[in-house]
């Protein structure tokens, strides 16, 4: 039998309203998902205009993971992510003006223009690292968790990584260490089915990536990464487990990557049918339908939110575009503390 990957789902959201979230919270979540979508579209257009340089890895279609998880954890918790981290940064609350300025290499950028798209971090928000190399962030996330544990702090560490990461050594070393030490860390795998340009089932011995958790004695679940409420609820449960000292859980989210691996990748290896289907499984649309069905907002209100988020993006991107380049004096500063 041909091995098939787990595929993203466009099933409607069927969950009830989570108890801990008010209608206001839910609309804020919607706003953030739209903000991320609009920001990524803006990044794409700025890239085409030559205002964003190098490469950039967009996350359209993965907004439910970033936002659902961000609402399930506490401000003091550490977050680490990958080069496909724009959504996580914005969901965590990074100032979009500093976000755009960083992507454009300006001194007003969150990393003063020294990091770029792949290395966004904001220590004031406990967003402590984005890593350009597959797997490199996982042991760092475990270290941050151990820091909290050894000092007896009420803090966990949440680590996002992609499907391709589950094949690299750092992943296995770090998961084992986290498990033996019961480090308060939550591992969140965003399985967008493609490791760069190759479908995950062609490169990986198992297709349900959460099965790998069993090798480290940790619970693993696979959930619909297009369902923001499901992500929220699963991460909340996982965070509670990690916080209570029972050890790290593993969540595999399957969202629908809408674009290529990076800006320069047109993703011609993906069948057109699949691209169309996945675009239709839009996590923002699914959430919108649910918000209307639950009577939390009307279609008109949600359209209004969308317009206001688009305005935020336009305004902050414009502000970033007007901001100065770093001074050449900055070339070697901050190499050493």
């Amino acid at each position: 039998m041909e091995k098939m990957p787990i595929l993203p789902s466009g099933d409607p959201i069927r969950q009830d309203k989570p108890e801990a979230l008010s209608d206001k919270d839910l609309l804020a979540m919607y706003s953030e998902m739209v903000l991320i979508r609009e920001a990524e579209e803006k990044v794409q257009s700025l890239y085409m205009k030559g205002l964003i340089h190098g490469t950039t890895h967009l996350c359209q279609g993965q907004e439910a993971v970033s936002v659902g998880a961000a609402w399930a954890i506490k401000p003091q918790d550490y977050v680490t992510m990958t080069y496909r981290g724009h959504g996580h940064a914005l969901a965590r609350g990074m100032d979009p003006a500093k976000f755009f300025a960083e992507l454009m290499g300006r001194s007003a950028g969150i990393n003063k223009g020294k990091g770029g798209s792949m290395h966004l971090c904001d220590f004031d928000l406990n967003l402590i690292g984005a890593f350009g190399i597959i797997g490199a962030g996982i042991p760092v996330a475990v270290g941050a968790a151990m820091s909290a544990k050894l000092r007896g702090e009420d803090r966990i560490s949440v680590n996002f990584f992609g499907d391709g990461t589950t094949n690299i050594g750092a992943f296995h070393e770090a998961l084992n260490m986290a498990a033996i030490w019961k480090a308060p860390v939550v591992f969140i795998c965003e399985n967008n089915i493609y490791g760069e340009f190759s479908r995950i089932d062609e490169t990986t011995a198992v297709t349900r990536l959460s099965d790998r958790a069993a090798a480290y004695g940790m619970p693993g679940v696979t959930i619909n990464g297009n369902n923001v409420i499901e992500v929220y609820e699963e991460v909340r449960k996982a965070a509670e487990r990690a916080r209570s000292g029972e050890g790290p859980p593993f969540i595999e989210c399957v969202p629908s990557r809408q674009r290529g691996h990076s800006r320069t990748d047109p993703a011609k290896y993906r069948p057109q049918q699949e691209v169309e289907a996945w675009l239709a499984y839009d996590p923002i649309r699914l959430f919108k339908d649910w918000l209307i069905e639950k009577g939390i907002a009307t279609d008109a209100q949600l359209k209004e939110i969308w317009e206001s988020m688009k305005a935020v993006v336009d305004k902050t991107a414009e502000k970033a575009e007007q901001s100065p380049w770093p001074s050449l004096d900055e070339l070697t500063t901050e190499t050493y503390a």
């Binding site: 550490y78 950028g109 969150i110 990393n111 003063k112 223009g113 020294k114 990091g115 290395h119 971090c121 904001d122 220590f123 402590i128 690292g129 890593f131 350009g132 190399i133 490199a136 996982i138 042991p139 760092v140 996330a141 475990v142 270290g143 941050a144 968790a145 151990m146 820091s147 909290a148 050894l150 000092r151 560490s157 050594g169 750092a170 070393e173 770090a174 084992n176 260490m177 033996i180 030490w181 070697t332 500063t333 901050e334 190499t335 050493y336 503390a337």
Partner: protein, 326 residues
């Protein structure tokens, strides 16, 4: 002033820093219950307990990555990599994370971490357990590289490394763990980045690190008997690299010889000589020379290994020939 071994001096530095600062934690393979493969951490687990000393799996990438995660969240981890040869296993974490974290974050964080590692040959461990590996790391701004040659420096340099807010690579020569020397704990803190003139002379400057410092000093004794006065500079740090002390010495002796347990191509001797030529060529009376390992992996056979590692005799012979007294 006490007489102690290189091993005990390192152990003392760890214990004193752990006692002084609760954010100092150790992690590494077999360093807890077992006291470390070279017994450097012996007794520390009993004294400080499992919340300060973490025995890890054999997983160098995990160890270094974890130490980085601790360092950026307010701790001062000291990771042990059992053999410096294994740094190759975790180069990604050292080079792409530790060295660049502060810079890439625009100064939002720093990585106050030490990686201690045993290095060097001479004890018949073969090609995968005898390398130094410190020169490879010279290419990475953001790192500091310490290489002490005696118990006194080992103690003070390690304390300084732990207090440093940057990632420090700390190389301990494994053939020197049992070597005795003097330690004055009351001496002031180490001056990071400062080489040391450990013997004054007027005819020739010999620059060395780690185990080669002792051999250079022995060679200088012999040369003295032959009427050649050699000055020995212990570089101690490769990043930052103190070219000024080398040039000050060469300005006096006008001849420069480097001795290192590395291969010539890309070794630190090349950098020291280039720096001297760039800044003080007029001071040189002869072409600077290097003594290095031959261009082959370090062999296992005692006969071959002894021939590969720069010896006292080789230093004496090279010095003689440089000064036209061969």
């Amino acid at each position: 002033m006490i007489t102690t071994t290189y091993r005990e001096a390192i152990q003392q530095a760890l214990a004193d820093e752990m006692a002084a600062d609760p954010s100092v934690v150790l992690l590494g393979e077999d360093i807890g219950h077992a006291g470390g493969p070279f017994k450097v951490t012996e007794g520390l687990y009993e004294r400080f307990g499992p919340s300060r000393i973490l025995d890890t799996p054999i997983a160098e990438t995990g160890i270094v990555g974890c130490a980085i995660g601790m360092a950026i969240t307010g701790m001062r981890p000291v990771a042990e990599i059992m053999f410096s040869d294994f740094l190759m296993v975790c180069m990604d974490q050292i080079v792409n994370n530790a060295a660049k974290y502060r810079y890439m974050s625009g100064g939002q964080t720093s990585v106050p971490m030490v990686i201690r590692t045993s290095c060097g040959g001479g004890i018949r461990f073969g090609a995968q357990h005898s390398q130094l590996g410190e020169t490879r790391l010279m290419q990475f701004p953001g790192l500091k590289i310490f290489a002490p040659s005696n118990p006194h420096d080992a103690y003070h340099m390690l304390r300084a490394a732990i207090r440093d807010d940057n990632p420090v690579m700390f190389f301990e020569h494994k053939a020197m763990y049992a070597r005795k020397g003097e330690l004055d704990k009351s001496a002031g803190p180490a001056q990071v980045g400062k080489a040391r003139v450990c013997r004054e002379g007027k005819d020739l400057t010999i620059v060395a690190t780690l185990m080669m410092v002792g051999r250079a000093l022995e060679a200088a004794e012999q040369l003295e008997k032959e009427g050649i006065s050699a000055e020995v500079v212990d570089l101690r740090y490769l990043r930052p690299l103190d070219i000024d002390t080398v040039i000050a010495s060469v300005s006096k002796t006008h001849n420069l010889l480097t001795v290192e347990e590395n291969h010539a191509l890309g070794g630190w001797g090349a950098e020291v000589i280039t720096g001297t030529v760039e800044l003080a060529m007029d001071e040189l009376d002869s072409a600077p020379r290097r003594i290095t390992l031959p261009d082959a992996p370090l062999p296992f056979s005692p006969v071959l290994e002894d021939a590969a590692i720069p010896s006292v005799d080789a230093i004496v012979a090279k010095a003689r020939s440089m000064l036209g007294q061969a």
